[in-house]
């Protein structure tokens, strides 16, 4: 095991641990703040795997925007500084089953799908902006454009749904 493996494992443990804290903490705002740690650890893992651009985009979008949006939502509705013991919905067993099944499925699928896919990290830097841009806009340009149409559709429908009906 190299030093890189150790760092990767530690970051993984940090991400998983803070992820568990997100759903077990009794304080609503703390859940959002633990999510910052989870996303940060994930970005660290991307960095270790030399995917620089993905790591920084992860921080910019998820920590900088999504978590701030979550915090905004929580604070706008209610932000108790103490413990909120009424947060449990009684779905805990179902949630555990769902989580475990998803985890097993994802690990198996990713294992089968990518177990033979190796990237040589010594020859070239695969995660740089230039490399990702080249691959994205040469080989994968059609899926990329389809995704952007999907996002545009989601954006437009959100605006349509949020507008008050003229009566």
């Amino acid at each position: 095991m190299t030093a890189v493996d150790v760092v990767l494992l530690l970051l993984g443990a940090l991400a998983a641990g803070s992820g568990v804290l997100v759903v077990t903490t009794r304080r609503l705002v703390h859940a959002a703040l633990w999510l910052v740690v989870t996303f940060g650890a994930l970005a660290g893992m991307y960095l270790v795997m030399t995917a620089e651009l993905v790591a920084w985009v992860q921080v910019l979008i998820y920590v900088g925007a999504v978590v701030v949006l979550l915090l905004f939502g929580i604070m706008l509705t209610r932000a108790p500084t103490g413990r909120s013991d009424d947060l449990d919905s009684g779905n805990r067993p179902a949630a555990v089953v769902g989580g475990v099944v998803t985890c097993v499925l994802l690990v198996t699928l990713a294992g089968y799908g990518f177990s033979s896919a190796y990237a040589d990290l010594d020859t070239g830097r695969l995660g740089t902006a230039r490399a990702i841009g080249t691959v994205l806009f040469r080989s994968w340009v059609l899926p990329f454009e389809l995704l952007s149409v999907l996002l545009l559709a989601a954006l437009v429908s959100a605006i349509v749904l949020s507008r008050r009906r003229e009566s």
Partner: protein, 321 residues
């Protein structure tokens, strides 16, 4: 030179800049604002034109009582000033000061790194607003979050325009590709970047989150002593970082009229301080925007302008290549 020694020297230099520049900008604000308002500003501390005023302020802050409100979320309350301050230190690491590797660390996707880390600082202010257990602080925190969401988009879009023009995300690479005529080409992006940057720092005229006549001091209402000083330091470090990024992206960084190779660091410093002066100038010149004006200005004004600039950048880029 030994690698470890070199890293240590770079870290020390960046840290020294991080401690020195915010003080210079803070002093400049005292003096520039005073003279614009027909006053003298600090004149006594340190002897010469009150140069040590901010040092004296620091000593005063250190002596104050350290108060945490009884109902506060203690851990988050104590953590918040550090979360607000540290990102700006981390951004300074990638800002190129001169040609030939005169930079803390040359990150390949430096622009994205800088924008990503900067956006984390806002979480500190939101945490402060929540943890204080004070309704004014909470209102301030909500305003901080709303403001960040509105101004992050034009900030990133205008920065992307510079990256597109240069064809690289590396901050050093952008300065290297910069030409004087870009000042005209990227003028709109420069304006949008500066305005959105000032808004992201919650500086007047975009200081709705700390509007003293409405919500006392917003998220920082309950803070005293050193923790309050850390928030103030974060504000001035933020000015330095936004000015440095504007310099690097739009004003040609180390490129000056003569002797770029030898005097590059000097040109960078002069430009950064000039942009910081403009930020202070804005504070003295404009009244505070109302919350709805603030949101309207971002979504209806800056975002379309930034998109128009992106289009212009793309057209010119294709035309000249």
């Amino acid at each position: 030179m030994n690698v470890a020694v070199e890293v240590a020297v770079r870290v020390v230099l960046v840290f020294a800049a991080f401690l020195l520049f915010p003080l210079v900008v803070g002093y400049m604000e005292h003096k520039a604002m005073a003279h614009m308002q027909g006053r003298l500003g600090p004149m006594y501390a340190g002897g010469f034109h009150g140069w040590a005023q901010l040092v004296a302020d620091g000593v005063k802050f250190a002596q104050k009582e350290d108060i945490v409100p009884a109902d506060a979320d203690r851990t988050v309350f104590k953590l918040a000033p550090w979360i607000a301050l540290l990102p700006y230190l981390l951004v300074l690491v990638v800002v190129p000061v001169g040609p030939g590797g005169l930079v803390g660390s040359d990150v390949d996707a430096g622009l994205f790194y800088a924008l990503a880390v900067m956006s984390v600082g806002v979480v500190g202010a939101v945490m402060a607003g929540y943890a204080s257990a004070n309704k004014f602080a909470l209102l301030g925190g909500i305003r901080v979050a709303a403001q960040l969401m509105a101004y992050e988009l034009p900030l990133v879009l205008s920065a992307v325009s510079a990256a597109m023009a240069a064809g690289t995300l590396s901050l050093g690479g952008i300065v290297g590709a910069w030409r004087p005529w870009w000042l005209a080409w990227q003028l709109l992006a420069l304006v949008v970047f500066l305005v959105a940057g000032v808004a992201e720092l919650r500086r007047p005229p975009f200081d709705m989150p700390v509007a003293d006549s409405e919500i006392i001091f917003g998220p920082y209402t309950e803070y005293t002593g050193l923790r309050f000083a850390l928030f103030l330091l974060a504000e001035y470090a933020g000015i330095v970082v936004v000015s440095a990024l504007a310099t690097v992206l739009f004003l040609g960084g180390w490129k000056g009229p003569v002797l770029d190779a030898q005097l590059g660091w000097l040109w960078t410093c002069v430009k950064v301080l000039f942009v910081a002066f403009v930020v202070i100038w804005l504070r003295v010149s404009f009244p505070r925007l109302r919350e709805d004006q603030l949101q309207r200005f971002a979504w209806m004004g800056l975002v379309p302008l930034a998109l128009a600039q992106l289009l212009l950048t793309a057209i010119v880029k294709v035309a000249i290549s």
